[in-house]
Amino acid sequence: MNITLKNVSFSYSDSLDDAVIKNLNFEIKSGECVVLVGESGCGKTTISKLINGLIPLYQSGTMASDVLLGDKNTADMTLAEISRYVGSVFQNPRSQFFNIDTDSEIAFGCENLGMDPEEIRERVDRVVKEFHIEHLAGRNIFHLSGGEKQKIACASVSATDPEIFVLDEPSANLDLKTVADLAGIIRFWKSRGKTVVIVEHRIHYLREIADRICYVKDGYIAYEWTPTELEAKGPEYAASLGLRCMNLEQLGETEDARLRGHDKKGVFASTLSSVIASEAKQSTTELIVFNDLHFAYNRKFPVLDIPVLSLPRNQITAIIGHNGAGKSTLAQVLCGLRGTWRQKRKARKYGAYLIMQDVNHQLFTESVLDEILLGMNPQDENAAFDILERLNLKDYASCHPMALSGGQKQRVAIGSGVSSGREIVVFDEPTSGLDYKQMLAVSATLQKLAATGKTLLVITHDPEFILNCCQSVIRMEHGKIAEQYLLQGNQEKLIDAMLNA
């Protein structure tokens, strides 16, 4: 089924003057796999919503001209009708399932189409086999990991057997191993002659699947490449457009060369990094040591079992490992959110401060300044302004935290961590769903923070980010530390561990 956008314009407001999409002509042929890339806010998600009918049927705004699925105009259909032809998978695994158990969820779309129950059961069984998710059948979805939820979402969409699949940043919350599984699912759809449209920041996993990569800028398609063409242009070219890297193995080599050649001169904060590098050489021996980090739901299966954890002071350490390796549990125990009463009490004194993946959960007050003051002496406004200054938030001091952009919110949360006076700051997936420039900005903030005397621990699945700002790596496996090493000289080892293991 062909998808045709003819001279389409769309604006989220009442007039087309500030349109997100302007006179877009775009055609996707039946059976093609097209990836839409571009910086945040460029309009690529809007294009995906035009295809799955959420625009104009769900989202309010002003639209000119038509989107055709085959020969049908989406504006004349209902969302229920469109769902026969287009299946959508979204970014957030937590909010895209409607049922509580996996089997019902996979059947959900078919039930909505009013199919015969016998037929639905056959389809569910078939999809479960095709996707190799027998182990997930009959489970409570609330107990699944993000990656497993995302697989169930794909399976559910696949069960209704639509002609077109639209995926909006499906890999944003997944580790690299699960991303590989996702690539397998997309390859399977493609082999069945389905049309697949993917909006994505991480494109390395689509290297061998995509037919076209379209670079969206200001609501139109500025460039178009095949994956081979884009890869041939090299990582620097991709980075200059704000794109994530195309080939992770290449990433290891170039980053290695960069480190050796220029003494780690990143695009941002170059002097800062070299300061950190030289400081690191002086104080390699200074470590913060934690003893006896244990946690278990029941005695036989420890979730976390670390006798000694030593963190290099004033440096950024990455924690890698697959979902369920105990990374988040480690963070929670370090921050005093889990563990025995004694562990918690200790953590409250010397413990760490956690910057959550969803920073919305940790912003409470009515203004950015209050947010910083909450953790300290309220008379100390000067110190609070100092913190805001360092995080480039001074102009927003009186804004409501919820009115800020994602990156700004994250910096406010970091500010609250700084004002709490805790020495260690733990980050849970600070770069999920970010484009290249945003990732560099987070990396610069973290380096600044380390330079001002904090010790940072970053849980992440993002190799590009680790290479950009971390000094050492801890790999966890089954609740234990499998290995700990300095990043310098071990780049290839890191990428290998993240891809394979």
């Binding site: 469109i82 409607f98 209704t160 401060y353």
Partner: protein
């Protein structure tokens, strides 16, 4: 063992009305049902704890309510009354919410010829409850890290601020999740206009009859005696 969603609806309505309006002895007769049902769901520890707390609170309320026990005693008796009435209602809700699948519920409602316009929002509610707890826990964690605890000197001084700290982030994230959820549901063809099918077969069995007869019997005995 599974109950039909319609039976669960009946149990919720009939059970709660008896617990709230009839003397404790009839309430106790109703409370047997969720206690047994939870055991059948292999939640026997929960069931035991619940029965134990209910027995204590119901007995002390019933035994002490006519006596002159002074101010502290009155406070105690009213607490016991609250526990013995509110707890079983919440437990019945808990049982229904955690054992009913969303599609079962929708199938049951459509068999009772209740329009989709009513059913779909209610179904979203079933899906929403666990989400609310998940989110609230995360927010509680974040507050603990900032040294804001539910019971502390600071909280007592300014209880409204705490309410605000807890609810604003909760509302913001729930609104976002609610929106994403309805997008996901509508793109998968959920709509008030179309007829759904359901892979779960629902229907009345022996266990449903037992629950119905038992509840009705309690209500009949209660109304005959009064």
């Amino acid at each position: 063992m599974k109950l039909d969603p319609r039976t669960k609806l009946f149990l919720t309505i009939a059970g709660n009305s008896v617990i709230l309006s009839a003397p404790v002895i009839y309430g106790a007769m109703i409370v047997v049902l969720p206690a047994v049902l939870l055991v059948l769901e292999k939640r026997w520890r929960f069931s035991l704890l619940f029965s134990f707390l209910y027995a204590i609170s119901a007995f002390s309320f019933d035994y002490l309510k006519t006596m002159d026990v002074g101010l502290a005693g009155t406070l105690f008796v009213s607490t016991m009354m609250l526990v013995s009435h509110v707890m079983p209602i919440s437990v019945i809700f808990y049982y229904v919410m955690t054992t009913t699948k969303v599609n079962e519920f929708m199938a049951g409602m459509s068999k009772m010829h209740i329009p989709n316009k009513v059913t779909i929002p209610l179904a979203v509610m079933i899906r929403f409850f666990p989400t609310v707890f998940d989110e609230a826990r995360d927010i509680g964690n974040a507050m603990r890290m900032r040294g804001i605890r539910l019971f502390s000197l600071r909280t007592l001084k300014n209880p409204l601020a705490i309410l605000e700290y807890r609810f604003i982030p909760l509302l913001v994230s729930l609104t976002k999740i609610g929106d994403e959820l309805s997008v996901a549901a509508t793109t998968r063809g959920l709509s008030p206009e179309t007829r759904r099918s359901c892979i779960v077969k629902i229907g009345f069995h022996v266990q449903d009859v037992i629950v119905f007869v038992y509840c009705i019997a309690v209500i009949v005995i209660f109304s005959l005696r009064n």
